[in-house]
């Protein structure tokens, strides 16, 4: 079966000033390759600064890679011109870590989920309202919150709203960039369950970027570990996270806090 997303040798360099005279290039991504099968979840794990968010932006066509290719449903996205890329955008959506800064706090919940329809010029006005309310239902946000400004919603409610917005254009792939990290533990569990349910009912594919390995082990089918812009290890989630082969994976696992072991004890699997 053709992967939904295939990333081949992706590179992204940023110019960085080395000294007063020399500009060097900083490689945020270096020869990154992986693929995601339809209706599965790939967790991308790595430390801060490893390139995870840069990769998310490249896949969502919000950054242009300096080298390599990205194939979405077999189409080479990197070779498309701007206009054709724009047509593809609705299929790949992003949910960010901090709903407080990714959602306008003065807009109402309804405004937020309707915005994609307006930008893409879809549906008539009454249709948009109906569909917007249906999206709120999908993420179990009570309709009575529809008219409330986003600033008044709780963290969990805001994140549900961000997911509803991501669903508006019926995407195939959703990139979740640390989407659960800022939430309380009990709320993380609720949102994780929502994501699993949506994946099954809507046939969604997820790229789940996180440094929470326990959540990655729970949600993901496959895991790719990124370190300094390179994928150092990848494979089935449970296998990689229980028997890691690369030091980067091992040290992330060792650093993951556990309820019952002192972090100083050697981790045994």
């Amino acid at each position: 079966m053709q992967p939904l997303l295939k990333v081949e040798n992706l590179g992204k360099q940023y110019p960085a000033r080395k000294s007063a005279r020399a500009i060097d290039n900083f490689a945020a991504l270096d020869a990154v390759s992986f693929s995601i099968a339809p209706q599965t979840t790939l967790a991308l794990v790595g430390e801060s600064g490893s390139g995870k968010s840069t990769l998310a932006l490249c896949i969502a066509c919000l950054e242009t890679p300096t080298s390599g290719k990205i194939f979405f449903e077999g189409i080479d996205v990197t070779a498309l011109d701007q206009n054709r890329q724009l047509l593809l955008r609705p299929q790949i959506q992003l949910v960010f870590q901090d709903p407080a800064s990714s959602l306008n706090p003065r807009w109402t919940a309804l405004d937020i989920v309707s915005e994609p329809f307006l930008v893409q010029r879809r549906f008539s006005k009454p249709d948009r309202a109906v569909r917007a309310l249906q999206l709120l239902d999908r993420v179990a946000l009570p309709r009575k919150l529809a008219g409330r400004p986003v600033g008044e919603l709780s963290g969990g409610q805001k994140q549900r709203l961000a997911i509803a917005r991501a669903l508006a254009l019926e995407p195939k792939l959703i990139i979740l960039d640390e989407a659960l990290s800022a939430l309380d533990c009990s709320v993380q569990a609720q949102i994780a369950n929502l994501l699993v349910e949506l994946q099954s009912s809507l046939g969604l594919t997820y790229l789940f970027i996180t440094h929470d390995l326990a959540m990655a082990a729970h949600l993901a089918d496959h895991v790719a570990v990124i370190q300094r812009g390179r994928i150092v290890e990848s494979g089935p989630a449970r296998k990689i996270l229980s028997s890691p082969t690369h030091d980067a994976t091992r040290s992330l696992l060792a650093a993951t806090p556990r309820l019952f072991e002192s972090p100083r004890e050697p981790v045994s699997f």
Partner: protein, 327 residues
């Protein structure tokens, strides 16, 4: 041993613009011994940040301590003069609040920001100030403290900024540090480094800490005791290992069950659903009777609807506020 900090019957409320008074903390009691680390475990709306602010009277204008006392080193902070409070904040008590990025001045070098704390509390000449600042930064940045000293906050990583805040908080050799979500938004490796740093500070400086977080796993290797806060009330308080391995309060038990299971590959099929706590965090503006957790509690009884449970001893140094244990 005389406790370093004794909080008794603390009640704090906020007034809304409409004039409505909303209770944020109701009857919080706990004490802290010198060199002890108390973890305050609470989710959004539990009152944890209110607790941090109210201990040193840093509540916003619409916040008010309705009653109670906070005795620190024998002195009731709630009755202390403004002059005494200024000396205590940053001096005897170090504070580390959330969001290192917004706690640091964006256009001052971090070395200067650390020496400012010293200058505010201690009478040091320029040379002594420089030396002490240098030592402080070296204690949190074992390598390249000099380079870090000359950096601006935006040039540092999240973990480095957090270390600067820790240097500021420990500058005047306090006996207590209050840290509110000090490792939120840091990746696991950096989190571990900060945890090791806290352990070293406790060991080397005999520092007591109140560590506020919503992440139970963070407290596992660090806190001596855990206080579980729910809806502004102490649900449970006890030794860390006991609270985490045999939680007494239904909220604590439900919260710990929500966590994705341990990473071991035990061959069990992946559970499609995590356990959740049904319902939402309580709306503190709604005055109610009875136990605040009752609407979401799977073990609720008749008595829980009308009455609020008082704390009851349920084990060694372990107290829980729940009718399951009363009488």
């Amino acid at each position: 041993m005389k406790p370093l900090l004794e909080v008794e019957s603390l009640h704090v409320s906020y007034s809304a613009r409409t004039g409505e008074v909303c209770p944020a903390l109701a009857g919080v009691n706990f004490s802290l011994n010198p060199g002890e680390i108390l973890g305050v475990l609470g989710e959004s709306g539990s009152g944890k940040s209110t607790l941090a602010s109210s201990l040193l009277r840093l509540l916003p204008a619409n916040g008010k301590v309705e009653k109670g006392s906070v005795h620190f080193e024998g002195k009731n902070l709630l009755e202390a003069s403004a002059h005494d409070l200024r000396k205590i904040r940053g001096g005897r008590v170090g504070l580390i609040f959330q969001e290192p990025t917004s706690s640091l001045h964006p256009t001052l070098q971090v070395g200067r920001q650390v020496s400012d704390v010293l200058a505010a509390h201690e009478n040091l000449d320029r040379l002594a100030l420089q030396q002490k600042t240098s030592n402080l930064l070296a204690s949190v940045f074992p390598a390249d403290a000099d380079r870090i000293s000359r950096s601006y906050p935006h040039e540092l990583s999240g973990g480095q900024r957090q270390r600067v805040l820790i240097a500021q908080a420990t500058a005047c050799s306090p006996s207590l540090i209050i840290a509110d979500e000090p490792t939120a938004s840091l990746d696991p490796t950096t989190q571990q480094e900060i945890v090791q740093l806290f352990r070293a500070l406790r060991q080397n400086l005999g520092l007591a800490m109140i560590l506020i977080t919503h992440n139970p796993a963070l407290l596992a290797g660090l806190a001596d005791r855990i206080l579980v806060l729910y809806a502004g009330r102490v649900a449970e308080i006890g030794p860390t290992s006991r609270v985490l391995s045999s939680p007494q309060h239904p909220y604590t038990a439900a919260l710990l069950r929500c966590l994705p299971s341990h990473l071991a590959d035990d061959g069990a099929p992946r559970k499609p659903r995590l356990n959740i706590i049904p319902g939402d965090a309580p709306d503190l503006s709604l005055q109610g009777t009875g136990c605040r957790f009752e609407p979401r509690c799977t073990e609720r009884m008749e008595v829980c609807i009308l009455n609020e449970p008082a704390p009851v001893v349920s084990g060694e140094l372990h107290e829980v506020s729940c009718f399951k244990f009363a009488g």
